[in-house]
């Protein structure tokens, strides 16, 4: 009994220590972001907390982060919406239907998960020019299509499992009631796959929101996402830690909120879909 108490104590001790270590980077950024530069410059852990202010956020916002943030939202929401709509229906077909070249097509789509993004990056620049996707808001459509092509493999990987678990009798009875294949998909299969779809939305949103390379390469400076804006701020010689830290906290918040809201679904979705033995 006594030994047990010690193991429990040690368990929580280690967990608490690990949690503190885990939080230090975020706490550091958050503290620097709410302190005036002269306070954070002598160690945020010694700073006078009464000087805390949100002024850094206001300045970062005015110095261009507002545009970058808006761009990030446009890119992420349109990419995720497109990928979810197209990916879900494709996953349903791969799970429930027979068609030609299914194995090969599945292989090709799955390789998008594995092959580094660099394989498509370079030709996309002239390709966007050819398709007139290189100017103005059309760039958003272009990058959304690229993110969709890239998300396709993940969508299939995560969603096929959900659709193939649905008992055939359920779909069959819908068909006997006169439902078309599309109606069976929308009314029966789709609601049953919601946990998988939600966890895919989280993963895809986080992935697209956090992309730096494609935004940097394919978009002009007025349409680039927040990740690129942050990387541009990062210039050590300029001593603008206040702006950089508040920018990085801003960049963290949207995916974090989404994750916090949908966390429950995510664990369930991952459990049922991807890692089931």
């Amino acid at each position: 009994m006594r030994q047990r108490r010690w193991t429990v104590f040690a368990l929580y001790g280690i967990l608490t220590l690990a949690s503190i270590i885990w939080l230090v980077p975020v706490v550091t950024a958050a503290m620097i972001s709410i302190l005036p530069l002269d306070q954070s410059g002598t160690g945020w852990w010694r700073a006078d907390l009464s000087t805390a202010t949100l002024e850094n956020y206001g300045r970062a916002w005015q110095q261009g982060l507002s545009t970058y943030t808006l761009n990030s939202f446009i890119i992420s929401i349109s990419s995720v919406a497109l990928t979810v709509v197209l990916g879900t229906s494709a996953a349903y077909a791969f799970a429930r239907m027979k068609f030609r070249l299914k194995g090969l097509l599945y292989f090709l789509l799955i390789t998008t998960m594995i092959v580094p993004v660099q394989i498509i990056l370079i030709p996309l620049v002239p390709w966007f020019r050819t398709l007139n996707l290189n100017e103005g808001p059309a760039q958003f459509l272009g990058i959304a299509l690229v993110h969709t092509a890239f998300g396709a493999g993940w969508a299939l990987f995560m969603l096929i499992g959900f659709f193939s678990q649905i008992p055939e009798e359920v779909l069959e009875s819908a068909r006997l009631d006169g439902a078309s294949e599309f109606q069976a998909f929308r009314r029966i299969a789709l609601p049953l796959a919601v946990p998988g779809i939600v966890s895919f939305i989280i993963i895809d949103f986080v992935f697209v929101w956090n992309d730096l390379l494609m935004g940097l390469t394919l978009l002009d400076s007025n349409h680039r996402p927040l990740t690129v804006g942050l990387a541009n701020l990062q210039a050590p010689q300029l001593n603008q830690d206040d702006l950089i830290s508040s920018g990085s906290i801003l960049a963290i918040i949207p995916p974090l909120l989404l994750f916090a809201l949908l966390n429950r679904y995510y664990v369930r979705g991952l459990y049922a879909g991807a890692v089931k033995g």
Partner: protein, 352 residues
């Protein structure tokens, strides 16, 4: 009217006119002609996007690696008059360039160290969280939190931690407390400079090659950000560990370590594979975090393949290095497909 499976269309482009073809075919088997179109309506849209924005650019990269061109005047299929065919020489000059092997070594360090650290950190954390009955949700959330942070933001946040000024950076403030500020040591071939995290933390002299530790301190923030994926995957996997098996083993007097080795790890194998594969994939792609922490420096100590490629094609616009960059992209992809082939095959088998 029915059709054989063989007779239906081969590519998505034919989606528009499948009925014609179906009508001509003498019927033998299974489904109605109309039903045969349905699958293509479901998969067609994503295949079109995939063909236009993945397959085509990927094939262009492969083709363009056989030509000499620069980003100011990129290789294009429609302009054969401007092609400058060089065969495989982009590959031979890539494979004989010192820059390539420097970047390949750094990428190899990523490929090995990153997945190993991710597993070594997230597996014990997940086990601890699993063992903690009360408060496990809070601990799990804390470990998962960095997962939503972009690698560029993670790199920036960790630059604050790594700040060499002990009045600003937490790590160097700690080093000052224990009196190791600016300390340097040499143990045989190992050279360590305390406190110079991203600039010159140390070197392992191995005769023919020096392993520089700056890479490690770029990898650590990435592990911090990525370990949450491991924790969440293992947590999900742990719920599938059969509790009868655990109880039976406990009744037989198994120790905690034996439980982990003989019961938990075998039933977590699929999760371990997923985490390992995904982190290997991420390791080779890595670009963002290197760009914001070191930009490949000091000198080229932390330059990875993705960064070298990017620099060649977008930084030197006036020199025709596009073909070289394309060759690097092809080499990276071929390597990745080869090492993940067993995994792809397993997934495919499961699919069929």
């Amino acid at each position: 009217m029915t059709v054989t499976k063989k007779e239906s269309m081969t590519t998505t482009e034919k989606v528009a006119a499948p009925t014609l073809k179906a009508a001509r075919t003498p019927g033998t088997r299974r489904r109605q002609g109309r039903a045969k179109i349905t699958p293509y309506l479901f998969v067609g849209p994503i295949l079109l996007v995939f063909a236009g924005f993945y397959l085509w650019p990927a094939l262009s990269t492969i083709a363009s690696s056989l030509f000499t061109w620069g980003m100011l005047n990129p290789w294009e299929l429609g302009a054969p008059s401007e092609w400058d065919y060089v065969g495989l020489s982009n590959y031979s000059s890539t494979l004989s360039s010192a820059d390539f092997w420097n970047a390949a070594l750094n990428s190899a360090i990523w490929l090995i160290v990153f997945p190993v650290l991710v597993l070594a950190v997230s597996f014990p954390l997940a086990l601890l969280v699993w063992n903690a009955r009360r408060g496990s949700g809070i601990f799990r959330s804390i470990f998962i939190l960095p997962m939503t942070i972009s690698l560029s933001a993670a790199g920036i946040i960790w630059s604050f931690i790594y700040n060499p000024d002990p009045n600003k950076g937490v790590l160097n403030a700690l080093l000052r407390v224990v009196g190791l500020e600016d300390a340097s040591f040499t143990f045989g071939p190992l050279e360590v400079h305390a406190g110079q995290w991203l600039s010159n933390p140390g070197i392992l002299h191995l005769g023919m090659a020096d392993v520089r530790f700056a890479n490690l301190f770029v990898i650590i923030p990435a592990v911090w950000a990525f370990a949450g994926f491991g924790v969440i995957t293992f947590t999900a996997g742990l719920t599938s560990v059969p509790s009868e098996l655990l109880d039976a083993a406990r009744v037989d007097g198994a120790k905690q370590s034996q439980l982990v080795r003989h019961v938990v790890i075998p039933s977590l194998r699929p999760s371990i594979v997923v985490v390992a594969v995904v982190s290997v994939i991420f390791a080779l792609r890595t670009f963002d975090i290197v760009l914001v922490t070191t930009a490949g420096g000091p000198a080229k100590d932390t330059e990875v393949l993705a960064m070298l490629l990017w620099r060649q094609v977008f930084q030197y616009l006036d020199t025709p290095q596009g073909g070289l960059a394309a060759a690097i992209a092809v080499l990276m992809s071929v390597f990745m497909i080869i090492i993940s082939l067993p995994y792809i095959r397993a997934t495919l088998k499961e699919q069929q």
